[in-house]
């Protein structure tokens, strides 16, 4: 089943130099493991193709039911050097929430994950 992160998580992002961070927080405690399993570093790298120039690091915060992603090379140099509207990475949070993951039907149903149907 397709699941969109916007429907199972919330997020906030910020900057450190040319790196944007995205804190991805499960909307329900029982959904945290879904994030851990399916929103991997590799998945984030694929998702942000053409948006960031560097790699991705992921940290787990089970206590907050959150993952922290560091997206390197995200801010066109960062800080005052950047020419971007979002020079401080404030809305990488919502860019992350666009991600659609594939969860096996049985697991998705057991956790009552909302299904995502892409608008045509």
């Amino acid at each position: 089943m397709k699941v969109r992160l916007l429907d199972i998580a919330h997020a906030r992002s910020g900057d450190k130099g040319d790196t944007a961070n995205v804190g991805l927080i499960a909307l329900k405690p029982e959904w945290y493991d879904v994030l851990v399993t399916y929103v991997t570093e590799a998945a984030a790298v694929t998702h942000f193709t053409g948006v960031i120039t560097g790699g991705v690091q992921r940290y787990e915060l089970p206590n907050l039911r959150a993952l922290n992603f560091l997206l390197h090379g995200a801010l066109d140099g960062g800080g005052t050097l950047s020419l971007k509207t979002d020079a401080q990475g404030k809305v990488f949070s919502t860019a992350m929430l666009r991600m659609v993951i594939d969860v096996p039907d049985a697991e998705a149903q057991a956790l009552a994950l909302p299904a995502y149907t892409a608008a045509v």
């Binding site: 919330h10 906030r12 910020g14 450190k16 961070n21 998702h47 948006v51 206590n63 066109d76 860019a95």
Partner: protein, 457 residues
């Protein structure tokens, strides 16, 4: 040690430019012991340094004088103490301005202002480099010598020690320059509860309390994505308050009868803001572990925080260095329906061709189409902006050569008459060329930085 069982620290400013009403609302809305005001972002010190070069009496966050005026009654008559990193590169001038303001209200004798200096390393850079402190860029590894001649500010991030000392010496207002944001909250807790310099778990708790409230209302419902439509009454938002116990556990809350929300989701969003490696949040006082934080619902607009672990501080201080790094200019035009995005894209092709014909190349050129792809790029989808009522075309350049950037600023507005149709939004005319002041984070041995505390009365 004060013997208090609860100390209430209120966050009243999250950056220089934050809501002018907030400090007064924090001291009038209910009982608080401390008002914490954070004014500094990474490049603020360089702006202040430029101001000081023009006028030796400037170089601090001037909003602070107005903030002090708005809370003067609470400081003088209710015993509220104020801790602020408003001193910038000139804490002494900041203190003098506050004293002059207080004198105007007949309260000059009622303030004991603690002034903390020693964070400013600009006059000592060559000495430090000569003594083998390379001040390498923490991100790139490059030595500072590469940009030494362009450095305009250099400040070490100071921890809680000198703030605690100022409070011990009776200060009811503490003005510091480049302290860490979090020390402004942790220091009064450490002072009140007598936490030892190696009581790592409690110091870490104070730091995390500081992290939660250092961005003002960003933890009490402001800029909160979770359930954002239903967060009540943001027009009247309550700024955050930490109610801390001697054991380092605390509650995040806000005054009754204010808007906004304090909940596990609003606090969690702030906890992950600007986070790096959550296992080691490094400060001058302690290394805090964000994976140890436990949050629990403590009732309406109350979140309990406990379980926090810390470990020994490192022997380094972070140094925030600002240096001149060329010029930039960003301009924009707005194209309307029909085919707004196509018109904007054509304008971009034309402008770039004209820059080519002029032989102008830049270190960086960036085009954005606001309304289609400016913030999410290709993630917005292939058809994004296709039928938009309007699209803002935004183009910026960056280069070391100011003349080239200046020439670029002349090329945008002509498109209004000699480019694609249905264009507006050019009232501001040519964009301004700005000098870029870039940020160079470095580390320095703690032993080379000595802070000084003076208490004026």
């Amino acid at each position: 040690m004060s013997g208090k069982t609860v100390v209430r620290v209120a966050g009243g400013q999250g950056f220089w430019g934050d809501w002018l009403e907030a400090p007064r609302r924090q001291v009038e809305g209910g009982q608080v012991d401390y008002l914490m005001l954070d004014y500094l972002a990474e490049v603020t010190m360089s702006i202040l340094q430029k101001q000081k070069e023009r006028d030796p009496n400037m170089g601090y966050a001037r909003d602070f004088v107005g903030a002090m005026e708005s809370v003067l009654d609470a400081v003088v008559n209710k015993g509220v103490k104020v801790i602020a990193n408003a001193g910038g590169v000139n804490p002494e001038a900041c203190a003098a301005a506050v004293q002059a303001m207080a004198a105007k209200h007949g309260a000059a004798g009622k303030l004991k202002i603690g002034v903390i200096t020693g964070d400013n390393l600009l006059p000592r850079i060559d000495e430090l480099l000569a003594n083998g402190h390379e001040l390498r860029n923490m991100d790139t590894g490059e030595p500072l010598s590469l940009v030494r001649d362009r450095v305009i500010a250099a400040n070490a991030y100071i921890g809680s020690e000198p703030i605690v000392e100022a409070l011990n010496r009776g200060a009811n207002v503490v003005i510091i320059g480049r302290s860490t944001d979090t020390a402004l909250t942790m220091a009064p807790l450490r002072y009140e509860f007598g936490w030892a310099a190696n009581d790592w778990d409690k110091l870490a708790a104070g730091i995390i309390a500081g992290h939660i409230i250092e961005c003002g209302a960003q933890c009490s419902g402001g800029n909160c994505l979770h359930d954002w439509r239903n967060i009540p009454n943001l027009a009247d938002i309550g700024y955050p308050i930490v109610e801390c116990s001697p054991d380092g556990t605390f509650v995040v809350t806000k005054h009754d009868n204010t808007g906004g929300r304090v909940s596990v989701p609003t606090v969690t969003e702030q906890l992950v803001y600007e986070m790096g490696d959550p296992h080691s949040y490094i400060t001058p006082d302690v290394v805090a572990d964000f994976t140890s934080i436990q949050l629990a619902d403590g009732g309406t607009d109350r979140v309990k925080v406990h379980g926090i672990k810390g470990s020994a501080a490192t022997d380094k201080l972070k140094v925030s260095i600002a240096y001149r790094s060329g010029y930039k200019a960003v301009g924009s035009l707005v194209y309307s329906w029909p085919d707004a995005l196509e018109k904007a894209q054509m304008a971009d092709r034309i402008l770039r061709e004209r820059l080519d014909r002029l032989g102008l190349t830049f270190e960086q050129v960036l085009s954005e189409f606001v309304g289609a792809s400016a913030t999410h790029g290709p993630l917005a989808g292939v058809g994004a902006g296709k039928d938009a009522p309007e699209i803002q075309y935004r183009i910026g350049v960056r280069d070391a050569d100011k003349a080239k950037v200046e020439r670029f600023t002349r090329e945008i507005v002509p498109l209004v008459l000699n480019g694609p149709p249905s264009v507006t939004g050019f009232a501001a005319g040519r964009p301004k060329t700005e000098e870029i002041v870039a940020y160079w984070p470095a580390l320095v041995d703690k032993t080379v930085v000595t802070t000084h505390v003076e208490v004026l009365s």
